[in-house]
């Protein structure tokens, strides 16, 4: 799956990215790929040995992607996309009174 990490720079609040997920199996599988807390994101395969799925998502917290059985009861595999906030280095501004502002 990629990306594995989303870095928020400056005062950005939201990650906007395209998640690419790919699975393979030596035997035919029937399963579904979904994103936790995103019911609108679901892709299912029936009797496949591999599958590829891409979706654009926006998120502010870690995003968990899961492979589940067709009934969505059991989690077969999961991976997370971590959100990392880049630490801002801040400085005091001078603001000399001789200047207009």
């Amino acid at each position: 799956m990629r990306p594995r990490v989303c870095t928020l720079a400056g005062d950005a609040a939201t990650c906007n990215t395209t998640v690419h997920a790919e699975w393979r199996s030596p035997r035919n599988e029937s399963l579904c790929l979904l994103i936790v807390d995103r019911p609108e994101v679901r892709r299912c395969w029936e009797d496949h040995q591999q599958g590829v799925y891409s979706v654009e998502v926006s998120f502010t917290e870690d995003l968990v992607v899961e492979l589940r059985d067709p009934e969505l009861d059991r989690v077969l595999a999961s991976q997370a996309i971590a959100v990392i906030r880049q630490a801002l280095l801040l400085r005091h501004k001078r603001r000399p009174p001789w200047n207009i502002f």
Binding site: L88, L90, R91, H92, K93, R94, P96, P97, I100, F101
Partner: protein, 278 residues
């Protein structure tokens, strides 16, 4: 040892002596704000409004203020605030030591096209002869743009900020000195802000003579001129802020006694809206 080196060491020594008493630092920067900026961040804004700066030089018009651009960039060490570049030698929450360069201010009274005069481009220069002394016209000088450089010390104690700079004219026009000292404190700190600044500017005789001296007629001494300033800001949205300021400077008699000066004070006022471009 050069003036800049001597004054740097003097400020450092004074700060070392006074530092422990001023050691209660201002709150550290936690987020970008009017007082704090992210390293590497370029800020550009434009103030649009109406204002004026009175002109103490005889025969010269007051200077209108309509459009005031502002640029600010702070790197890890290097910074630029509009026309003032500088390098930070040391910074903590309580003290900052910079080396700065800044344009000589007084030229704004002699040339509308000085970079420190931001106005609409159709404003014209006043004529260069404007003073009569016993039926002999005195040529009002046309000083060049000058830059001064030197150390600057800023110290922060709770909400109080003080700054002192010792400057030397490095563009070779008059080789004079300036010492600037000021303190600021907030009067209102809520969604709107009102701050008061007070300070003095000392100019050496060479500096005063370059702008206000008259050959064979007036040879001035150094000048010590106090000022006070009120600044107001009310953010209206993410990009728009209502801004206003009033600045009053009382000129030393060394300047006022010049035959080309007719006012004892300079008053600058402006009110308008600041738009954050970047």
């Amino acid at each position: 040892m050069s003036f800049i080196l001597r004054s740097t060491f003097a400020l450092l020594a004074f700060a070392a002596a006074a530092g422990p008493q001023l050691a209660t630092a201002q709150a550290p920067c936690k987020a970008p704000s009017a007082d704090c900026i992210a390293v590497g961040d370029l800020q550009v804004s434009l103030s649009l409004g109406a204002g004026t700066r009175t002109n103490p030089v005889a025969g010269r018009d007051n200077i209108p203020l309509f459009v005031i651009p502002y640029l600010s960039y702070y790197g890890k060490r290097f910074f630029l605030e509009s026309l003032e570049p500088g390098v930070t030698l040391y910074e903590s929450d309580a003290h900052t030591f910079n080396l700065i360069a800044t344009p000589g201010f007084d030229r704004v009274f002699f040339s509308r096209h000085d970079p420190q005069n931001i106005l609409l481009p159709f404003a014209a220069d006043a004529p260069s002869f404007g003073v009569q002394q016993e039926e002999q016209p005195i040529a009002v000088p046309a000083p060049h743009t000058t830059y001064l450089a030197g150390p600057e010390w800023l110290f922060r104690h709770r909400n109080f900020i003080g700054q002192v700079s010792a400057l030397y004219e490095v563009t070779g026009r008059h080789k004079g000195y300036e010492v600037r000292a000021a303190a600021s404190a907030p009067l209102i700190q809520s969604k709107q802000s009102l701050a008061i600044n007070a300070g003095v500017t000392w100019k050496s005789a060479a500096t005063v003579d370059y702008y206000y001296g008259v050959q064979d007629l007036y040879d001035p001494d150094s000048a010590l001129s106090p000022f006070i300033k009120l600044s107001y800001a009310l953010p209206l949205s993410e990009r728009w802020t209502l801004v206003a300021f009033l600045h009053y400077e009382y000129l030393d008699s060394s300047i006022v006694d010049s035959p080309i000066v007719t006012d004892h004070e300079v008053v600058t006022g402006f009110a308008g809206f600041n738009f954050k471009v970047l």
